[in-house]
Symmetry: C2
Subunit: 387 residues, 2 copies
């Protein structure tokens, strides 16, 4: 009676869930989209297809619990299958709050949890009215489907929001915030509500993409405690099961606000693989299988993760693996993805005594891997000349 988990999606999260499943001997089956390689490269049992009702039902029939590596599943489909008696975690309510930012903002605000001042608008007049209330600039967001900075516009006038307004759909608008920093809290939660919370991390963004995560966040104790408490409160509010990532804004005027939530393992927790007593991936598996959760403490005083972003013209990062490993004690994770420019193809984690030292090494290694070039071939008999 080996425990079996079905994972919808074959990306790097499914890949790292498989890595975590090997220890406790949890069986993994992945429903992957044709062309996905990250998880299919390392998981023997793959079902190929998109996560429609029939595919999902067949997956659910073969496993003890179905969970998700991405948000591309219709919560209604999940609700229908749950009604049929299948076990899918997180459940439909959590998935709605994780995919529909308007629903999430309203729900958290109704529970008294701090979110940016927001509104729903469909046209320029609505945006003008909202801006008259909170002042320009205003953040304009697609309620669903955006990631890594896509689907977000910072508008100093209705003009700047012409593109999203032209879509004619409901938009989430939020007060423009003067940010001091961004934090993230990971919570793992079992079906009956048992939780563990990971040390608060600081996330560093560039062009809307997370480039680095530092653990623990170097912030005053009361802020760290408030962030952890907020993460736990959000997890309860959305009835999370599994890992819930809560991204937080700290504003220049000292407010702590919920930015986004993700109802799955998250980039901000990748460093937990080496840095924490139990990784986010293992605790996600334990939580969705309703097994006791593991401790989350840091094994060293500090840890830094740098994402490997493919540079223009880069090739297989494995050609640079020796160079990256030679830099020092780095933990390299490569996802098997084709290195298209700007694409997140891996990450590097460094543990150490201070975030500063760890950050420098992690960034160097990530840059080496992201800029990988084919090994130069020198024709026989040709001497290398100084360039």
């Amino acid at each position: 009676v080996q425990l079996r988990v079905g994972i919808v999606g074959g990306g790097q999260l499914a890949r790292m869930l498989q890595q975590a499943a090997i220890g406790p001997g949890i069986g993994v089956e992945v429903l992957a989209a044709p062309g996905e390689v990250s998880a299919p490269d390392v998981v023997p049992t793959i079902a190929w297809g998109s996560p429609g009702p029939d595919t999902l039902r067949r997956l659910a029939e073969r496993v003890d619990v179905v969970t998700f590596d991405h948000e591309g599943v219709d919560p209604d489909t999940v609700a229908d299958l749950a009604d049929e008696g299948f076990v899918l975690r997180p459940g439909p309510a959590t998935l709605i709050y994780a995919t529909d930012k308007l629903a999430q903002r309203r729900h958290l605000q109704a529970r008294g949890l701090p979110v940016p001042r927001f509104g729903e608008v469909r046209d320029a007049a609505g945006l003008e009215a909202f801006a008259a209330e909170v002042g320009w600039p205003v953040a304009v967001k697609l309620p669903s489907g955006g990631y890594d900075g896509r689907g977000v516009w910072l508008a100093r006038s209705t003009q700047d929001a012409a593109a999203p307004l032209s879509l004619g759909r409901a938009l989430l608008v939020e007060e423009g915030l003067d940010l001091a920093r961004e934090l993230a809290v990971l919570v793992a939660r079992r079906p009956a509500g048992d939780t563990v919370v990971y040390p608060v991390v600081e996330t560093v963004q560039r062009d809307g993409i997370c480039v680095e995560v530092q653990a623990p966040a170097v912030v005053p104790d009361d802020l760290a405690e408030a962030a952890e408490a907020l993460g736990l409160a959000v997890a309860d509010a959305v009835e999370a099961v599994g890992v819930l990532a809560v991204e937080l804004f700290v504003t220049a005027d000292g407010r702590l606000l919920v930015n986004e939530i993700a109802a799955r393992p998250h980039n901000s927790g990748h460093l937990s693989i080496e840095a924490c007593e139990t990784s986010q991936f293992e605790n996600h598996l334990r939580a969705v299988l309703d097994l006791p959760l593991g401790p989350t403490g840091l094994r060293r005083p500090a840890a830094v993760m740098a994402n490997v972003l493919a540079a223009d013209g880069s090739t297989d990062p494995h050609t640079a693996l020796a160079e990256a490993l030679a830099l020092g004690p780095v933990h390299v994770h490569l996802y098997g993805k084709e290195p298209r420019p700007g694409r997140k193809i891996g990450h590097v984690t460094v543990l150490g005594g201070s975030a500063t030292d760890a950050s420098a090494l992690a960034q160097r290694a990530a840059a080496v891997l992201g800029a990988a070039r084919p090994a130069p071939r020198r024709p026989a008999g040709v001497e290398e000349v100084t360039r």
Copy 2:
């Protein structure tokens, strides 16, 4: 140009090599014997068969390097393939010393390294002569093929050695030793000789089977240093590539002697997965691929591994996973093997401040998993009664 490693053997070592390969994105292909499940459960690319010359050659053609999860490969076959230009690591010389204890004893002694007093005998007269020299009892060993205490006899007279003597083959005989403790040292070594050495561990045996490993070994500094130096010297002497495990005897009269060597990741290093900066499995992969080796230091002051041995009548250990995880911060590894009585079906690692506390918890969790019983089914309407 993803790096690819072929592993001969589909047991738990191949399984844990796959776990270590997922991070750096190293591709794994396993040559498994029909019926093996540990690695085939978690590796997509499996070739089924025994490691004869043709199977091995086909595997070697598809990967960058072939390595081994067990000793069941003929060193001559490996030598022939190496002559053809294929890359197999460790190479034939190392494999001979790891599989033929007589050859190993002679080689290490010739290099001035400390081994028990030994001889080669084929009959009772030879055994009598050897015992007359070193005194009874005498350890009688099959030069190859034994493991976990099999193939070893402690003889107080030729009578006690009747079984091995009746085989009519060359036997390794050794002085009977009064042991104070057993240690083990793991070395990872690259083709050109770069090495890293892991902290010396103490191994605890019961009925010839390793039941527990403690890191670091609680021994005087000079003994720990001597053990590490001996491990490194043995690795050089046998031209190891990859991980070499050197099991050591400490005798009651204070001698440090080589017991056995294994030219692969080893049970004594399983705790390195969580306890060390780089696991033995990752460093084995790095070494055989000739990549820079990772640091080996302990992340916490102490770590203990307890093997999960299946008890009589036990069932799938997963039925006890919740109970084991509820005991405390344990790292559970289950190999997917059928729980035949006495069989090693997994291990549990606990990190902590002291070996004593970690040992108690690891042993409790291992016992729970090894004694797993089917979940009791209670007929509907029947109340549980106090037993």
